[in-house]
Subunit: 390 residues, 4 copies
């Protein structure tokens, strides 16, 4: 267990961070900022927090940014920061989805590491183009599939890899919410507006916003590659322009099967992300709303409750655990772990040192995989819910 | 709340019951017997507990049956009992699935009410034939889809019917077990042997044994009619002759959607039957292993825990509740409720009286519907998991 | 696992049972009747269901009793039944507490086994007198502390006895309800009326009604003998004549400590009976509202969920388990287990055979112990909540 | 909901913070540092992280402190920092308990705000002396009873204050752990060593370390003043010099009653802090290991699950909520809320502005109250567990 990141922290050694998006009234930008602060690895020093110059400055002032480093234009920011001796080393991209591609491209090409919110882009075409840019850039690309930062998810993955569950047969994934049960987007609510607008969010609604999280988690833990999917996408709320409920069957390479249910119209569910993985020797269950608990059943024995920081925790979980068992860590700590892992890689990149293979964060390949999943699900559904190659 | 059935009980008024199957070493026969005793409505007086004459007598003796009413042959039993002045009024059929049809036919044609374990038969053809027989017989046919006897399931149905959830959009069904994770049938275990033998169980394994329970429950509560299904059936255990894992997508008439997962190879699950139903005004969740709890969320308000016998219980739940809130009723009481409901109908049939419309038990139509579901799922899966009309 | 009692059942071998109390409108009588029927060991054939002759006859008729065996007077019943060749072998006493003593005395002295609801009597003096009678009678005295019939409670006791927890240090007991939060007795509600009336219930209210259950369970599982108690009894509801909330500290022989909280005025609690036992090697937790689960933690290892009928169940639990894991057994089955155990002893008494030491039921000693606990708590509280020898 | 503190953050406006204690190998220091960073209100700039000069420098370097602001002596630090124009505005004290008093005194007298870990001191005498110092100092004294920072605890308090529960009758408090089940202190484990050493921890072991947390929480939520307590303290582990298990009965002014159980020897419990509060109109339950859930039952209605950020949350909870419902906040966020509240008060103190009455943090009075509780419990127990005035 480590209370804090063990590398150089404090302001001397902190990584200089910029941010695009996340101005006043935004949500996920604040989450990224807290995540970047928790372990003391970063210092936010520049931002294009809004494309409106006044708003960008005002937002930056609240966060203590120097006025000259509050940009209105991300391109200008990339150039200006790349040119400074004390310029940012990494940028966090927290805009709506359709801006991920141009912003990430600009910073990667300016030689600046990118930490980008998910999904990767709003279209598969953009994703493929970004993958090419990222491949050439020689800079880090970190995608904040934050749920893979939870210690018990790290442990679940490690248990699968070490063969504790035997050969994996089944992966059951869910991400269930209720906040779009009614036509919230017509009320002008900011989150609902852009997330249900195909121009800003991409063709996928629920499938892109939360389905990809569940899909990423299933793949991260099981280590399985998806072969084909069959998806039935529905827009239950009249007038909604994107799907708000998604049922997917999956067939993995090697014969394992899976189901994925994502919904934003199931009253009584807040962020019901859950994962159940079964092999021929045992099973695992995990629920995001109680993230410190991992249920493990060796076949033929009683179920065990493995707790973060507790006696059954494995090294992969311990490595990213901050406080003792019974003192819950939550969403922000899981998110911060992605930032902490990225910090280890960024510091290594300063000197060309190699990064421990224990360091884990989702990257461009995960982003591309997620976009291919969204694309295949939409194609499958459009053709009547038929089996479709990912 | 009623502690006991309110009709005539005790031995004078008790319904004279026979049983086919359920001899020494059997499982479900004992469950039916307890269920028949709990409310004092029945008295077991005859049986063809085994097709082996010695075993039938020995089994009957243990249960206090008169030797002359311990039959080896169900046909003989039907004739003999029909001819007695004090002959049985109803028979419980607790044999393997393939015997349901001939046995039920014999007793119905002898004028005796039938209480039959599920699924209805082992083939759709038998089911259709039995439906015809039952339609002509003028006798009651009760199918023990026992989970619909749980008070909170009755309440869930009532809440849907009264519009509490609004228009139903989603029905998520699960029945997950782990007892067939390994090749138990090769060990000679009696339950595993017949339930994985297509000749005795029918073409469906997991889909017929437990998938139908989940399906029946979803339909019972939601009131929805299934239009088409798409099923992916798998036999994970090498050598197994029937499916042990089932993933189904459902489309209901009127536009609602559903998913059904049934598995017998998911370590850590005992009898994980659960139901979640969501409408545009609220959601419900119920788990068979905690049957006294029903979770209800009116959209936009905190979730409520409704307990059997508690302050939020509706008349439909109260009607079949025996003991106060916080004193759990379980599987046997739920099962007994089917027997109690059947008793009300059987007593009414004695005199031709009408039965209250509150009395609810699954019958031949439910059995036929279940067989059509199994048949459609197997056809769908055999054709590569494609959409198939039920 | 046994589905049904394995001894002689059916009407030939069934034990002839009578009942005192439990007429129309009563509660616990119906529970006893169901409990007596579940395993098929008993047949109810006589009763003094009410002291009102008409009501007794009407109640008996509903239960199928012969009119001549519906008595208005328990003394007359004891004499008459003792004189019949087919007279009752055992009587169930389900009256208010103050009648337990005279009724039990009458039947014991008539040579009839007694199955009596708890607490033993309404005063310690009566209890001591009854203990003397029972000691002389040579008949069985069974006290329905029903919670000790739950399989996981049997297992908990066995685990303690076998040293799995090491030396016991702590026993934490609770029984929490809310039904008397308001002045229900003034409304004329039958249960509330007699249970808050010292003349019928005894000097203890909450302490006698439910505190004794928790106390019995703690002793049954831990095997510890109480040395001294300190009790703070409160009547929160204005005008209430007995305690409705009880806080007790306990010191056991040998140095273990305990706490017991019983309340009838804690909104949100139905029948919150729970037990936690800790030794120097491990801990156990059990909650009556989820009785099929026993949580066991070997110190330094993850917590295990042991389920009734599951892979971690011990022989003591298996012996009293009826249906497989994941099919919940509840309050009525636990209660029925006391009846089943009593049946084994009653049958053995027919022939003088010895009873297996596995057969467990609470008896006169437990009843006396409970009354001494009530008495000590009341004395302690009356003196200002001071340490008091039990 | 606010993602981040709304005041001036970033390095320009950040509060300059120092720390005493918390060097390499310590635990709670790291927690305080993370808590201070989460909302961006503080910047750590100086420390006496260890009384060993080398270790202090090395620990400071890891945290990015300037070498000249890494002190070995807290007195020297207080003087030096008070003399700097950019000196610290507040100091976090995270030493063992016996050092709280001298360190706090030194900084308060140097005009520096104090944020101090709990319990206040190691003796009641020190506590009273410190209270006097604090009263004279005109500087803020913040005690990190961190659990009162949880949003649902804020809501619980607000619900009690607004009369939702009616008149409070019962307050049941628990804080149960298992980490001292064996003689860990003899192994040299750092936390166990000082926490079981009366010279460093104070006369109370379990009562001081965790009992006070439960007591503070009970008082914070219920608003009740304790009149008398009766405590039974035990040291179960042979050789242990302080109590490791505590049973307390409480009588509050006005007639309410309470029980408090704190233990460090109950296997299977990690940080089992829980609170249940009952009034004549309703009840509340909260468990620290699932801190985002608050269970509320209006008497006579179904129980409600109120979630942090969800539809049932009150303004007091919303004020300290960072992320939406279903994304769990944990221990570190709750701790950070104390820091955030302190920051509001510290910023106000810069200008003499008044602080909103919504701002809540435990202070010197709470610390003194906790010490009086510890003292009364020890006196009570030493006299045989008798009623003792607090």
């Amino acid at each position: 267990m480590t209370i804090e990141s063990t590398g150089k922290t404090g302001h001397a050694g902190a990584i200089r961070l910029g941010m695009v998006g996340g101005g006043q009234g935004a949500f996920i930008g604040g989450v990224h900022r807290i995540a970047s602060r928790i372990d003391g690895d970063y210092q936010l020093v520049a931002g294009a927090l809004s494309s409106d110059a006044e708003r960008s400055k005002a937002s930056g002032a609240e966060l203590g940014l120097a006025p000259e480093r509050c940009y209105a234009d991300f391109d200008e920011m990339a150039q200006a920061e790349a040119a400074r001796a004390d310029g940012i080393e990494a940028v966090a991209i927290v805009t709506p989805n359709h801006m991920h591609f141009p912003v990430a491209k600009a910073f990667l090409e300016a030689g600046i590491h990118v930490i980008c919110d998910k999904p990767l882009t709003s279209t598969l075409k953009d994703a493929e183009a970004l993958a090419e840019v990222a491949g050439d850039a020689g800079r880090l690309f970190v995608l904040t599939h934050n749920y893979s930062g939870y210690p018990m998810i790290r442990q679940a993955r490690e248990m699968v890899q070490s063969g504790t569950l035997g050969a994996i047969r089944l992966v059951q994934m869910e991400y269930v919410q209720d906040w779009l049960t009614e036509d919230l987007e017509s009320s002008g609510q900011k989150q609902a507006s852009w997330r249900t607008d195909p121009a800003r969010s991409g063709a996928g609604g629920c499938i892109g916003d939360i389905g990809t999280h569940a899909y990423q988690l299933g793949g991260f833990v099981s280590g399985l590659k998806t072969d084909t999917v069959l998806a039935d996408l529905t827009s239950f709320v009249p007038g909604r322009r994107v799907d708000d409920n998604v049922s997917v069957l999956l067939r993995f390479e090697g014969g394992a099967k899976g189901m994925l249910w994502a919904s934003q119209v199931a009253p009584g569910n807040e962020n019901g992300l859950s994962l159940r993985v079964y092999g021929d020797k045992g099973g695992l269950e995990w629920h995001q709303e109680q993230p410190n608990h991992l249920w493990y059943t060796p076949f033929g024995e009683p179920k065990r409750l493995i707790t973060r920081g507790g006696s059954g925790a494995t090294p992969a979980a311990e490595r990213v655990t901050r406080v003792p068992a019974g003192h819950p860590e939550g969403y922000l700590e899981g998110f911060a772990t992605i930032y902490r892992e990225a910090a280890e890689a960024i510091r290594a990149a300063r000197t060309g040192a190699s990064v421990s293979k224990d360091v884990q964060f989702p990257g461009i390949a995960d982003g591309l995989s997620g976009m291919r999943f969204i694309d295949a699900c939409i194609r499958s559904s459009n053709e009547g819910a038929v089996w479709t190659k990912v």
